[in-house]
């Protein structure tokens, strides 16, 4: 049981990453592929948070004096996740806008048909 408990978050993050990759590899709908990218992003974010987590400790905010400096989790991954989320949002927004344009030009979102550029 403790094995699952210990590995749960890792499984979630790795699973999300792998599912995202599978979507990118197999799905032909452009929007779905972008969703796949987001899956990977989320998976990585979870991974970052997992890495910073320490069992039984609290958030690194010393708003009350009861909090012991030895009893907080690692603040750095949380800061990194913050950045990573924003970057993910930025990429997502740009991806969607380009997808809109691609649809306008090709009248389809099927990537197997959007093959004007090859070789």
């Amino acid at each position: 049981m403790s094995l699952i408990y210990n590995w749960m978050y890792y499984i979630a993050s790795g699973g999300l990453i792998l599912i995202g990759m599978y979507i990118i590899l197999v799905k032909t709908n452009l929007i779905k592929i972008i969703i796949g990218l987001n899956f990977i992003d989320t998976g990585v974010n979870i991974l970052l948070v997992c890495i910073g987590y320490v069992k039984g400790r609290t958030a690194p905010i010393f708003s009350t004096s009861r909090i012991n400096p030895t009893n907080v989790v690692d603040p750095v991954p949380q800061a990194l996740v913050l950045t990573a989320i924003v970057i993910g949002v930025a990429v997502l927004a740009l991806a969607l806008s380009i997808a809109i344009k691609v649809y306008e030009h090709n009248k389809t979102l099927n990537v197997t048909k959007i093959r004007g550029l090859k070789w």
């Binding site: 210990n6 590995w7 978050y9 890792y10 790795g14 990453i17 792998l18 990759m21 599978y22 590899l25 197999v26 997992c50 890495i51 987590y53 320490v54 069992k55 958030a59 690194p60 905010i61 010393f62 708003s63 400096p69 907080v72 989790v73 690692d74 603040p75 750095v76 949380q78 800061a79 990194l80 913050l82 950045t83 989320i85 924003v86 970057i87 949002v89 930025a90 990429v91 927004a93 740009l94 969607l96 806008s97 380009i98 809109i100 344009k101 306008e104």
Partner: protein, 236 residues
């Protein structure tokens, strides 16, 4: 397609194996904190912010945040650049359609009017208190943008003035970089916390952190708004 699926599954299995091997070296929930010990023990004293995440985000790793703000800025600008042409065309086309199709219900309109200032206030609260409580410029900015999104839903025909948006965006960006450059002038380090730290756990503390967070809050809020605006296919 079938073969591709099989190949991808094989690849992903190998990758999963790689993940398992690596994760086995990084035990979950154990104390692996290394550099961050410094932040936890010295953070309050050095930056004046009780939220250590904030002090990491804005002081120790403030450069990342500057980059992050830049990324968001790029996304907003890039979105504007990519979706540029069809705006004018659609504006004409949509005008006639809008009257019939895009009219929000009375409840939505009244509720939005009521909620909008509150949302703005809440957002402002979040980014002003970024150094004290969980939260900060990005979160606050997102809340503000949600308020604008609500307004777009309620009043689909109206649109925010893009020019003032971009002015706020670039001004707040400039403030961030400017503070960094001031730091360079006053204490010789880019983005150094040159303002007085104040007493921890009070609103006016933590030196440059609140100022930057306010700028970031405005910037993120308006950038996300302009992203929404662009994706709606309107704007100037």
């Amino acid at each position: 397609m079938r073969t591709r699926k099989i190949i991808s599954i094989i690849i992903l299995l190998i990758l999963a194996g790689g993940f398992i091997l690596t994760f086995s070296q990084i035990p979950f929930g154990k104390d692996k904190i290394n550099v961050a010990h410094y932040y936890i023990s010295k953070g309050i004293e050095e930056t004046g912010a009780v939220n250590i995440v904030t002090s990491v985000v804005l002081n120790y790793r403030g450069f990342d945040t500057l980059g992050e703000v830049t990324v968001l800025f790029i996304a907003a600008i890039g979105l504007g650049a990519v979706l540029f042409t069809e705006k004018r065309v659609q504006k004409h086309a949509s005008k006639s359609k809008d009257d019939k199709t895009k009219k929000a219900s009375l409840i939505l309109r009244t509720g939005s009017n009521l909620l909008f200032p509150l949302i703005l206030l809440f957002g402002a609260y979040i980014f002003v208190h970024g150094h004290l409580t969980p939260g900060g410029g990005f979160q606050g900015g997102a809340v503000i943008a949600s308020g604008f999104l609500l307004m777009y839903l309620a009043f689909p025909k109206q649109s925010i003035n893009k020019k003032s948006l971009s002015v706020v965006e670039s001004l707040s960006g400039l403030i961030f970089v400017g503070i960094g450059l001031f730091g360079l002038i006053f204490s010789g380090y880019f983005l150094s916390n040159f303002l007085p730290k104040g007493i921890p756990n009070t609103l006016f503390s933590a030196g440059i952190i609140p100022i930057i967070y306010i700028a970031v809050g405005f910037k993120v809020g308006f950038e996300l708004t302009s992203v929404i605006d662009d994706l709606l296919g309107r704007g100037k």
